[in-house]
Amino acid sequence: MPQAEKKGLSHATLATILSIIPGVGQFFNRQILKGCLFLLIAILYVGGFANLFNMGFWGLFTLGTEVPRDNSIFLLAEGLIAVLVLGIGLLFYYLNLRDAYKNGEAVDNGLKPAGFVRSFKDMTENSYPYLLVSPGVLLLIFTVIFPILFSFALAFTNYNLYHTAPAHLADWVGFNTFKQIFTVDIWRSTFFDVLGWTVIWTLVASTLSIAIGIFLAIVVHQKDLKFKKFWRTVLVLPWAVPGFVTILIFAGMFNDSFGAINNVLLHSLGIKAIPWMTDANWTKVALLFIQSWLGFPYIFVVTTGVLQSIPEDLYEAALMDGATAWEKFRNITLPFILTQMAPIIITQYTFNFNNFNIIYLFNNGGPAVANSTAGGTDILVSWIYKLTMQSSQYALAAALTILLSFFVILIALIQFRRTNSFKEG
């Protein structure tokens, strides 16, 4: 330390400053091999990606200037990849600076920096968890994080059918699309109609499945009930059959003109045929019924497991106090189930909020509504799908995606906080 003070700058600081060019700081710390390696990586990185950065950032800012040469969307994608690569580069740059500082500090303290073999061994040992995580995280970056960022970026452009390559370019428009959702009459009314039904759908469909699942689990759990195994197997069947198959089967059964519900069931009860597929309200009733049918077995199975884990002495104590069956249920069974199953119950709600399959496969989100891009039973996700795949309103779809994501995250965060179930363990 005293030496360093004489010189005015510690070895550590100097090494850090020198490694502004990666490797030089390591040379200064007399770690020649490591320095060479760092320098080589830096040269390869800059040399290899210079073009990507150049093109990428130009494209990201301008989204292209000339038709038909430039394709705005490809340029946007390249730009985002450049940002990701830059991010990874900056991370390594930071590690390089830190390495120079750490080893410089060792020199200051009169220690000799580790040799190449030693530090290589250190690195592999410390990096073991990174080695474990990296395949998963890399895949996550390219198949989930990058596409999500890309979708989000599209929300701030005007990319749609009229701004598509090769004939046209897209442009950055800031928050314009978001503003339009709330100001253009037709968009606003569609948005609020869809949002309203999405919320009702989520609450009613999930609550029904949860209530039915818990109720049936308690019913089957009765001690003196026979054939328990049989009932449990039967009640799990709707979960065992692939969901899309069931939905499509129901779509046939609910068909207005030839479906079994109208032709057989209601007919035999003397009830007139109900327009399940052409009247939005009846479609909603059918959807809620089907989702309860599909959703309860999962809750049923988990509740059965929880019921078996309730300590028996709780009930014995209650029996001593002369509690009625209802009191036992209210004060012991239900609280136990609800606290144990909080995370699973929450996932039911987020699942139904994004339950694209049932809405789209059952009746295509329909019946169709005049002058609207959304059908009478479309929820946010199925509307976004239609905007993307059918009417090429990419920017609008992307903006809605952002709103949807914030909505889901907000609710999930509030809930997770309240249940504490996801606390660090």
Binding site: P129, Y130, L132, V133, P135, V137, L139, V144, P147, I148, F150, S151, F152, V219, D224, V234, L235, V236, L237, W239, A240, V241, P242, G243, F244, V245, L248, I249, A251, G252, M253, N255, F258, G259, A260, V264, W293, V301, G305, I344, N354, N357, Y360, V381, I384, Y385, T388, M389, A398, T401, L404, S405, V408, I409, F416, T419, S421, F422, E424, G425
Partner: protein, 282 residues
Amino acid sequence: MHSIKRRKHTRLGFTYLLLGLVSLSIFYPLAWTIGASFNRGNSLVSTTLIPKNPTLAHYQALTKTSGTFYYFQWFLNSLKISLFTMVLSVILVSLTAYAFSRFRFVGRKNGLTLFLLLQMIPQFSALIALFVMAQMLNLVNSHFLLILIYVGGQIPMNTYLMKGYLDSIPRSLDESALIDGASNTRIFLQILMPLAKPMLAVVAMNGFTGPLGDFALSSVILRDPKAYTLPIGLYNLISDKMGASYTTFAAGAILISIPVAIVFILLQKNFVTGLTEGGTKG
């Protein structure tokens, strides 16, 4: 005494009645589909639960390919995609969860928060980008791309489940193995993974059924009828021709549902343990 007994009888009576009705509502659609698959003709107008002149024609039709109809190809595609997604996600999820559960490293906390956040954002958000990306990379109709997307989407939630489960396995087990000179990799493969079997079953099941239940993402990437998976293929079968090939659909639906349901019920015990132990406590 008598009144207690009578009350017990009415309670049980109502219970059996209720369970009977629920079972009926479960069996009816399934039986109806089985019936439809043996009925003659293409439409459902004349379909009855018990066919008057049962026929295997629709099952035979499944083996043929015509125009946009490739049932067995779809079946194989779905099987392939589900299997690869399952294997890859089990491997990647258990590696990642092991690191998060047993090691303390720089970036761990941030990583966990990121996973929690990604678990909440539906993969649906990426739909538009995947649509554009597949075209850009010339990977429209690529099963490989689809598998990678599925596995990526499976990682955040399943890692959380698996990490929670591994956390509940006492650390003293690995520590004593470490003292005996076992390497990290050996501890992972020979001690932790066998103990985590119930949760591995859950991750495997999610990996297998996830692709089988997906319509949105696969319909964005797969455009050629030969490359379809079962959900897209069967959906088009009944939506394109407006009920015309409903009986063929019924046969196809039965053929996929029965094996899946049997495997599901056989393996049920394994993943139910994982769900109730890991899922409920997070």
